[in-house]
């Protein structure tokens, strides 16, 4: 049995340094399932309630989510997928060609750490459901540290199972996500429908008035800032900024037969980031009503209250389907730093770090800040790849400069990254623009910097004949 598992692990081949062969390409349906599974996830149990807490109005939410998710789908389809299906190499190998191995190492370590924290938060969400039969004391919105030994034990078990699945490679992740994908959103929707009578909705016609007065009231909870339609629109567009504009999904979409597979992300956006957010917002409104605005924040018990055992299992699997591909991506990031190591060994180490991070409830309680920060941190490299691939050949600048000149640190790329983040920080500090909105001006700053810096760097040593 052990020998069989070892051979299976050794056989995992993810084409880190070579283009994915045509025999391994997958149809758009495979990505539809993966995106739907990945984005109907544990995060949805946290983000949906946040909109309620921040006092988004019902109409603002409907419109903001529609247009924000549309922009996210278009970003995957027109920014990420065309490059992914032309190059068919991982994000990390592409960065190595542009930025050089040393700068890519810095990027990969930042990226892997961010992925570990994101996956860790999802393991923690799953653990809130696993802990129900054990009367696990749940964390409150203000908690940062683990509050019991039983919490740590449950997180370790959930993390170990998640890591083993991720170790078995993309096919296993995709298969599991596909299996759970049709069922997960139905549980979200069913749970929300079943609790509507508790909010006073007894017919379809009563829903809108209750939605405006008891769920998305337009009035934030005490201590929370006021969100508008623009917050919702930009948050839903940029919450996966690292994946589309930041190009992290080059590593996933390189398996697609056609660039149009980028549109399959709509499965994740309009099922997970639309209906699941609405549904989890309804569940949270019921929780606030029965708990007299308790500060306790535990997705597992909320889902269990609304849908019984199926609800608790839904939270576990929803967390799992996010954590799995995220650990897989983090493994790829670290493997780019340690290219001679086996994929499964790297994933095992990444899974261990992720599980350790999951022990801290702060990852869940500050999820919004973290998601916004992580997208912003990685976004400039996506802008660099986009310009390097599409624009440089047209304006006489050398693409893939590090590979062409055999350099390990491309200063144009490095300075673009750091100066863009510095500019975003300055916009935040001096103009008071919230972090959710910084991605858009930041992308244009990165584009401008990268072009100007390359003109300066390549001027004295023309690379193109």
């Amino acid at each position: 049995m052990l020998a069989k598992w070892t051979k299976r692990l050794e056989d995992v081949q993810e084409y880190e340094k070579t283009p994915v062969p045509a025999s391994k390409w997958k149809s758009w349906g495979s990505f539809l399932g993966m995106y739907a599974g990945e984005h109907t996830a544990g995060t949805e149990f946290v983000i949906g309630p946040l909109f309620v807490a921040h006092g988004v109005g019902a109409l603002e939410l409907i419109l903001g989510l529609f247009f924000g998710n549309l922009l996210a789908v278009l970003s995957w389809a027109f920014l990420t997928a065309p490059i992914a299906t032309r190059e068919r190499i991982t994000l990390y190998y592409k960065l190595e060609q542009i930025c050089g191995s040393h700068l890519t190492t810095v990027y990969n370590l930042v990226n892997a750490l961010m992925f570990c924290f994101l996956a860790g938060s999802m393991i923690a969400v799953s653990a809130t459901a696993v802990g129900i039969p054990f009367n696990l004391p749940m964390a409150e919105l203000s908690d940062w540290l683990p509050n019991s030994v039983s919490w740590i034990v449950i997180v370790l078990i959930v993390g170990a199972v998640t890591t083993v699945v991720a170790m078995l490679g993309y096919d296993q992740v995709s298969r599991f996500a596909n299996l759970a994908a049709p069922w997960l959103p139905l549980v979200f929707i069913a749970a929300a429908i079943a609790v509507l009578p508790e909010l006073g909705v007894h017919s379809v016609g009563e829903f809108w008035s209750v939605a405006k007065t008891k769920i998305w009231t337009g009035v934030p909870l005490a201590g929370q800032s006021q969100f508008t339609m623009w917050h919702v629109l930009f948050f839903s567009w940029f919450c996966n900024m690292a994946m589309h504009i930041g190009m992290a999904d080059l590593s996933v979409l390189r398996y697609a037969k056609s660039w149009t597979a980028g549109f399959a992300s709509a499965g994740g956006m309009y099922v997970g980031h639309y209906f699941a957010w609405l549904a989890s917002g309804i569940l949270y409104a019921v929780f606030l009503q029965i708990s007299n605005n308790s500060l306790e924040f535990a997705p597992g018990p909320i889902a269990y209250y609304a849908a019984g055992l199926a609800g608790a299992v839904c939270v576990i699997i929803a967390g799992w389907t996010t954590a799995n591909p995220t650990i897989y991506r983090a493994g790829l990031a670290v493997q780019a730093v340690l290219p001679k190591s086996r994929t499964w060994k790297v994933t095992l180490i990444v899974g261990a770090v992720t599980t350790l991070a999951a022990c801290f409830p702060a990852l869940v309680m500050r999820l919004l800040d973290f998601v916004a920060l992580y997208g912003l941190l990685l976004m400039p490299m996506g802008a660099i790849i986009f310009i390097d691939y599409w624009v440089f050949p047209k304006i006489g600048l050398q693409s893939n400069l590090a590979a062409f000149r055999n350099i390990r640190w491309n200063w144009a790329a490095g300075l673009t990254w750091f100066l863009t983040l510095g500019t975003c920080l300055a916009i935040n500090q001096f103009l008071g623009i919230e972090i959710f909105f910084l991605g858009l001006p930041g992308w244009f700053v990165a584009v401008l910097l990268y072009i100007v810096l390359n003109f300066l760097i390549q001027r004295n040593r023309p690379a193109v004949a």
């Binding site: 298969r175 596909n178 299996l179 049709p182 069922w183 139905l186 549980v187 929707i189 069913a190 749970a191 429908i193 079943a194 509507l196 009578p197 909705v201 007894h202 849908a307 019984g308 055992l309 199926a310 609800g311 299992v313």
Partner: protein
């Protein structure tokens, strides 16, 4: 056999969603709804795994 597994999976999905609508209309209790959702979950995963197994073998 594959069709039987497919049918079981579909019944599982129906048992996941339909009872909640009956709760909403006042035709079913919450307790029954939760039991049926659990049954639906078991049928979905059992049926879907059986339905997909032959496809995986053919695809290699």
């Amino acid at each position: 056999m594959k069709n039987v597994f497919g049918l079981i999976a579909l019944v599982g999905l129906a048992l996941t969603l339909v009872p909640s609508i009956l709760v909403f209309t006042g035709s079913m209790t919450n307790a029954m709804h939760k039991w049926l959702m659990t049954l639906g979950m078991l049928l979905w995963f059992g049926g879907a795994m059986g339905y997909r197994r032959p496809e995986r073998n053919v695809g290699g």
